[in-house]
Amino acid sequence: MKTGWNVAEVIEVTQETRTARTLRLRLPGLAGHRAGQHVDVRLSAPDGYTAVRSYSVASASPGDELDLTVEELADGEVSPYLVRQVAVGDQLEVRGPVGGWFVWDPADPSPVQLIAGGSGVVPLMAMLRAHTAAAGSASPGGAAPFRLLYSVRGPDAVYYGAELDDLARLPLVDVTVVYTREAPAGSNEPPRRLDAATLVRSTLPAADNPAVFVCGATAFVETVADWLVQAGHSPARIKTERYGGTGTRP
């Protein structure tokens, strides 16, 4: 972990959706990070005013590069700048990667259930990518089943769509996407909100004692965590990351 505030350079920018971009940063001296960690980004105005926001790392590379996927919030102080203005070659002040709790450990052989609401998929994507990297190594976690349940507004709001399709073909990985407002073209299933029955049907059973990671807006995380406990999962096995905002329940 790098301590204090450091300067990172934006080396690549990718539009994920109409309102989200992935920024690839190079942070000199960084030697990898743990899947699920976040960084704090600080913007400073000429008058000295500063704003700090946390963004999850989406990538799982061992070197000095990090991908952050940022969703633009209409009334945001930091995200509109990161999504609309930052360009390759710009510098950003960052702290971290930090956080040692909401992380997947490749040494843990437990099956893993990931549950994302909207842009909550970002740190879970880092875990999926780390799992893929571990699958070719001696790490016990690389042989663990990984499932992702991704609740998202519509096909236009999906992050990493093509990569998730590829990952879903791997023998150990399972991906279920629930569209809440708009179904993909040609789909027979109407859009619907995630409910407890769908959650239980599309996730690893409590009997498998999976490590569960839930990330999304606060209301989403609260509701999903309650359903998981009602379905028999131990609260001690459920790790949550709320990204704030009042948001909507599933």
Binding site: M1, H38, G96, V98, W101, T218, A219, K239, G244
Partner: protein, 92 residues
């Protein structure tokens, strides 16, 4: 916001990892802490973070009392740990 503790304007303890990294050499949100008010003992990452314009509060998810208060005054940053009676770090 009304300041009502039942509102949803909070984050997980994990969100305090960056600000607390200014004080602690290790990731303290993974450490277990005991609430000085109700005795609940769990990882600080499971507590609730209430960010505000000048820092953050960490509240016990059991009794909602304040575990930790961080005030960022620009040229200095202050930490009040009165609400934590015990902290346990795990060595890796």
């Amino acid at each position: 916001m009304t300041g009502d503790l039942d509102d949803l304007d909070y984050l997980d303890g994990n969100a305090a990892a960056g600000p607390l990294s200014e004080f602690f050499a290790i990731d303290v949100v993974s450490a277990r802490g005991r609430c000085a008010h109700c005795g609940r003992t769990d990882a600080l990452a499971t507590a609730r973070v209430y960010p505000n314009s000048h820092g953050l509060l960490l509240r016990c998810p059991g009794c909602t009392e304040i575990l930790l208060r961080l005030v960022d005054a620009g040229d200095r940053v202050c930490l009040d740990l009165q609400g934590l009676s015990f902290v346990e770090l795990r060595r890796h």
